[in-house]
Symmetry: C2
Subunit: 155 residues, 2 copies
């Protein structure tokens, strides 16, 4: 378990955290650039949730960089427990935000065909932002599972 891909304090772990951070930031950027997003509560919640994800992932990426440069080991049970809880909470919030926005997008683009009949609606941007949010969730779920396995191995 010491060599698990994505473990804290490793290059793969750092890449995973930077990936989460980048996709969450991209989701915020694309959503903010879409005209009229503020009328949708779900899209505002997506931005808030992605903001929290950026903070969490950026913090852990900094911790990974510190561990890599100072050659410190981050795999002690207390720290890993904290990572498991944090990843679980952020993953749940990210999934909730992505799904609630996706629900609206499916309604607008498929069920009501609003996107086809209202070309001024920036549906492509909404969809792109939601796709980024789902990618962020997938990365966070991977992190969460890696932490879970490390915790399982460390007890």
């Amino acid at each position: 378990m010491k060599n698990l891909v994505g473990r804290p304090g490793s290059v793969s772990g750092l890449i995973l955290r930077l990936g989460q951070c980048a996709f969450a930031a991209a989701a915020i950027g694309v959503m903010v650039s879409a005209f009229g997003f503020a009328r949708f509560t779900a899209f505002c919640y997506l931005i808030a949730s992605m903001g929290l994800q950026v903070l969490w992932s950026f913090g852990l990426a900094c911790l990974d960089i510190y561990a890599l440069t100072r050659k410190r080991d981050l795999q002690n049970p207390v720290l890993v427990s904290l990572f498991v809880v944090g990843d679980w909470v952020t993953a749940t919030l990210t999934l909730a935000a992505a799904c609630s926005s996706a629900g609206i997008m499916v309604l607008y683009s498929r069920d009501l065909a609003f996107c086809k009949h209202n070309p001024h609606l920036p549906c492509n941007k909404f969809q792109m932002s939601i796709a980024f949010a789902f990618i962020t969730w997938a990365f966070t779920a991977i992190s969460s599972h890696v932490m879970f396995w490390i915790l399982l191995a460390s007890v």
Copy 2:
């Protein structure tokens, strides 16, 4: 960990499974009785997801009854691993379904105020069904965490 509330093969575990089953069935029942639900993809997905939850929880409830009547122990690592994976998958699908439906409901009742201006829309039934789906998710999340702790203790 052998006496954890909600563990498989215990009365509390059985109550938790029956609770999941009952609330998921109630979510399906209320949604199906709401006129016009089929026009919304998210609401159809909610029914499908709750259907899967009913099957999973009912199966595990039967296993709990079997373990209780025959005094069998269900806490071996292979079975608990299976329960952890199953609970994680069903909890994720349930949360996704509840959130996508909740996104639409918030849009209709708050952002666009459709529910106020279209009294023929069965918004109350939609909301009740979504609330039941969230309760089902909460119960499944509890089960999932209990299984996780048992797995952690058994390795």
